[in-house]
């Protein structure tokens, strides 16, 4: 199995999630993160003190998938997550040693 971590732009979340569901991804875990990279953030100014936060709000999606569809998942995220502008984010793929469903104790692909 593979474990995929994707960093995307927040407003793309719904789109990406729907696309993934469409290709049969049963579940995923989402968290709000701050991203630092090429994309530069807006500068905030409070009473003359400037803060250029290059930490931008991003969304992190974590998905465990079977080896078969891993590539397709990456592909899907890449397509739906892209706005062709800097800051669209990254997709990281890991090998997943094992997965267990807490409720049933099932392991492996069936646990996903």
């Amino acid at each position: 199995m593979k474990f995929i971590i994707a960093i995307i732009k927040p407003f793309k979340l719904d789109e990406v999630r729907e696309a993934l569901t469409a290709i049969g991804v049963a579940g995923m875990t989402v968290s709000e993160v701050k991203g630092f990279g090429r994309q530069k953030g807006q500068t905030e100014i409070y009473r003359g003190a400037e803060y250029s936060t290059n930490m931008l709000p991003k969304v992190k999606i974590e998905i465990a998938v079977s080896d078969e569809i891993a590539a397709q998942v990456v592909e899907t995220i890449k397509e739906t997550g892209s706005t062709d502008s800097i800051g669209d984010g990254k997709i990281f793929v890991f090998d997943l040693a094992s997965a267990t469903r807490i409720r049933t104790g099932e392991t492996g692909d069936t646990a996903l």
Binding site: E44, I45, Y46, R47, G48, A49, Y51, T53
Partner: protein, 460 residues
């Protein structure tokens, strides 16, 4: 204002009269009473009994000033700090106010507005004769600027809230690093040797600046210049926050700051229109001025931001509101609406520079810009009042005092207040430093004063 003379004197005079008159009345029949109520009016031109309308207005005004402090100022200040210091900021504001109330009834009122004002030198700075409010009863009254009176307990309460908010204002410069215990000790001494004397000098019958004819309708000098200068001195002795100015310290909740701004504006009408001590046309004038000067200040600050090439910000709106309110405070009943607008614009512009340029240059850490806004806008207002007061500029003045002369008086008054507050605060700061120490430990400062000083978190 000149008419204050009557006040100072009146407080004493009338109280006496009222007391006796009151007893008399209780004995008398209803009929007699009704007559009694008219009689003195004719005889003395000073009714012994407060008009419920004026009492009602002054009680409302008193409550409005409390609204300015808690939740108002606590939110305005708290929102500008980092979340780890939110509760500490709010608690220091609340604590300073509460402490001021207790001190006020014990010796504060007596020192500032006590019935006895010695003829000698000392009388210029303090009065006496009402420790623990010994001279006050439900029947004693305080004179207004006309022939009316209000219940003395109401006057005591109203003036009490001024002492309370001024003490709380000072602590805005020292948030995020000053100990709660130090803040309380400082407040107690500062009220006694700085605030009460300045209030007496400016507002009491025998007060030094009062006798000079200095104009300060609602406390531009007593409250704002005083608080601003004291805050600056205290902040400088206390030292900068760890990481200032390199580390970013954005307001943790501009929403809280905006709520606080709204409440400050709302409450300020008690402050300004209440200072007329009556619900009359002058109070109405103070009210309209407190609307328009503020509105003008808000837009001026946002405009300055635009001219500086930035975006017009919400904090700019709030800062301008405060600058406008501060500037119109001494002028509230001493200016026409358009004089007030001009004051609001000027004060806002000058304060903008003080806060966004001067401060960075001089490099002191007046954390929430108490000096930059209250001190600076207060000075603009105090001096400007000499001008907008003049009839030729639509002011209510009768022109009896030439503008130049009035301006000189205002400058002297400001200078005295600045010197007194500056020196006094410095002395107190070192005393407190010796007794409790001023700063929290670096660990506490790092972790935040909420958990470190109060053992709580603002948001769980």
């Amino acid at each position: 204002m000149i008419r204050k003379m009557i006040c100072g004197a009146g407080v004493l005079g009338t109280s006496m009269f009222a007391a006796t008159a009151a007893f008399a009345q209780e004995a008398a029949e209803a009929v007699a009473e009704t007559v009694a109520e008219v009689a003195p009016a004719v005889a003395e031109a000073t009714p012994a009994v407060a008009n419920p309308g004026n009492n009602a207005w002054m009680m409302t005004s008193t409550i409005l000033v409390l609204l300015m402090i808690l939740p108002g100022l606590a939110l305005f200040y708290g929102g500008l700090t980092r979340s780890k210091n939110m509760l500490s900021t709010m608690t220091q504001v609340g604590g300073a106010a509460a402490l001021a109330m207790l001190i006020w009834v014990m010796w504060g009122y007596s020192m500032a507005f006590g019935p006895i004002t010695s003829e000698g030198f000392i009388g210029n700075f303090v009065s006496s004769g009402s420790l623990f409010l010994s001279s006050v009863t439900p029947d004693t009254t305080a004179a207004t600027f006309s022939d009316e009176v209000i219940s003395e307990y109401v006057f005591v309460s109203f003036q009490m809230t001024f002492a309370a908010i001024t003490a709380a204002l000072v602590l805005g410069a020292t948030v995020e690093r000053m100990k709660f215990s130090a803040a309380m000790l400082f407040t107690a001494i500062w009220l006694t040797i700085v605030y009460f004397p300045i209030a007496h000098m400016v507002w009491a019958g025998g007060g030094l600046l009062f006798k000079m004819g200095a104009l300060d309708f609602a406390g531009g000098t007593v409250v704002h210049i005083n608080a601003g200068v004291s805050a600056l001195v205290l902040a400088m002795i206390l030292g900068k926050r760890k990481g200032y100015p390199t580390e970013p310290m954005p307001p943790h909740s501009m929403v809280m700051t905006m709520i606080g701004t709204g409440m400050l504006w709302v409450g300020w009408f008690g402050f300004n229109a209440g200072s007329e001590l009556e619900a009359d046309g002058i109070a109405g004038l103070a009210m309209i001025n407190t609307f328009v000067a503020t509105a003008a200040g808000a837009f001026s600050w946002m405009l300055m931001e635009r001219l500086a090439g930035h975006k017009a910000s919400a904090l700019g709106f709030c800062s301008g509101v405060i600058a406008g309110l501060v500037a119109v405070t001494p002028a509230a009943g001493n200016s026409g609406p358009f004089g007030a607008i001009v004051l609001g614009v000027l004060a806002s512009i000058v304060a903008y520079f003080a806060v966004s340029k001067l401060k960075n240059k001089l490099g002191y850490d007046d954390a929430l810009d108490v000096f930059g806004i209250h001190g600076i806008a207060g000075i603009v207002g105090a001096l400007g009042t000499a001008i907008v007061y003049q009839p030729q500029f639509g002011g209510p003045g009768d022109g009896s005092t030439a503008m130049g002369a009035q301006l000189t008086t205002q400058i002297v008054a400001v200078a005295v207040a600045v010197a007194w507050a500056g020196v006094g605060t410095a002395v107190i700061a070192y005393i407190v430093k010796a007794v409790t120490g001023l700063r929290v430990t670096p660990e506490v400062e790092l972790e935040g004063l909420d958990i470190g000083e109060h053992g709580e978190r603002a948001y769980n």
